[in-house]
């Protein structure tokens, strides 16, 4: 296991957190109701906070010695390694909630395994983040139930969201050569081992929410290799604008 491999793995986790945090923060001021506006802003801040921790750690592993702001805000699109689902536009509230459920329920299982990593930073990071994730999962689960077993309109919207997002879920569980090697040495998590538990939870929730499980077998990938959707460029243009317009700005 090389320092570069550790750096690349940390960047993946950091990019996931940052890009999701960025998307969720777009709801600030636009939430369907005040309390949900605050809830999503809080959740967005949780992810940005996790990203900060991860980029700080990555900065120490970086041979180019970039600091956390440079890593987060000045890389080019192909250098980001987040999974594609997190960079998709938010859509309506049902789509955001469905993505929140899919991702946070997976991520909680992932962190539960990560806390047994033989790397002290990763295990400590996982312990701390689990508390945040438990709330995210509860929040998303409750809303999926309410929308699914709600009005005809809410049911249709959340079912449509589930159908649209389904082909993006495979990437959450993907293991390429880097992660397989790091997992076998006890540093990283074997994502594919989480599929069964995750599927069980998801099925139980869909039953309760009277939703149909999509069956599409084909899944998107490319995020881990820096091949992004057409949405990533616009997201980065907004996210990086201030840092590029006023490099090194402090406040």
């Amino acid at each position: 296991m090389t320092q570069l491999q550790q750096f690349n793995y940390t960047i993946r986790l950091a990019d996931d957190a940052l890009i999701l945090g960025q998307r969720l923060s777009e709801w600030c001021g636009h939430g369907p109701i005040l309390e949900e506006d605050i809830a999503l802003s809080n959740i967005a801040l949780d992810y940005v906070g996790q990203a900060t921790n991860l980029y700080k750690h990555a900065s120490q592993l970086d041979t180019q010695k970039r600091d956390e702001d440079a890593l987060a805000l000045t890389r080019m699109e192909q250098e980001y390694n987040n999974i594609l689902m997190l960079e998709l536009p938010n859509g309506d509230y049902a789509a955001t909630i469905m993505r929140q459920y899919f991702y946070s329920s997976f991520y909680l299982l992932f962190l539960d395994k990560l806390k047994t990593s033989n790397d002290s930073f990763l295990s400590g990071f996982a312990e701390k983040s689990i508390k945040e994730l438990r709330y995210h999962v509860q929040h998303a689960t409750d809303w999926v139930k309410r929308m699914g077993d709600g009005t005809e309109e809410s049911h249709n919207r959340i079912q449509e969201a589930a159908n649209q997002l389904w082909p993006y879920l495979g990437e959450m569980f993907g293991m390429d050569a880097l992660e397989s090697e790091l997992a076998s040495s006890g540093y990283a998590v074997d994502r594919s081992s989480l599929v069964e538990d995750w599927k069980k939870q998801c099925t139980a929730l869909f039953d309760e929410a009277t939703l149909a499980m999509p069956t599409e077998a084909w899944h998107h990938k490319g995020g881990r290799e820096g091949r992004h959707t057409e949405h990533m460029g616009f997201l980065l243009a907004e996210m990086q604008f201030m840092q590029r317009a006023y490099p090194g700005a402090k406040w």
Binding site: P32, L34, E35, I38, A39, Y135, Q138, D142, R146
Partner: protein, 95 residues
């Protein structure tokens, strides 16, 4: 989301070192579980508390401000109800 189905709830928060839940404000929620989650998001962002009580605003019965006089003034001049005439030994300290 229509607010017509979302009743108003009063939120009471007890801080980490506190003994009593204090009124923190109000918010809308569809039911009690959602009210607790919303209260957690709205009123405990800055570590204001570790325990939340939610009560439907409609369930709260309050004394009428106009009745302030006859409900509370009589207690004002009954000094014998306060235990202020004892000599407290210095070892006991403040009570």
């Amino acid at each position: 989301m229509s607010n017509s189905n979302w009743p108003l709830w009063e939120i009471f928060i007890r801080s980490k070192n506190g003994l009593a839940h204090k009124h923190a404000g109000s918010l809308h929620a569809a039911d009690a579980k959602m009210a607790i989650e919303n209260a957690r998001d709205v009123y405990t962002r800055r570590m204001e508390g570790v325990s939340i009580w939610v009560v439907r605003s409609a369930d709260i019965v309050a004394s009428a401000p106009a009745d302030k006089d006859f409900l509370f003034d009589p207690a004002n001049d009954k000094v014998y109800r306060h235990p202020t005439f004892y000599d407290i030994p210095p070892e006991v300290g403040h009570m």
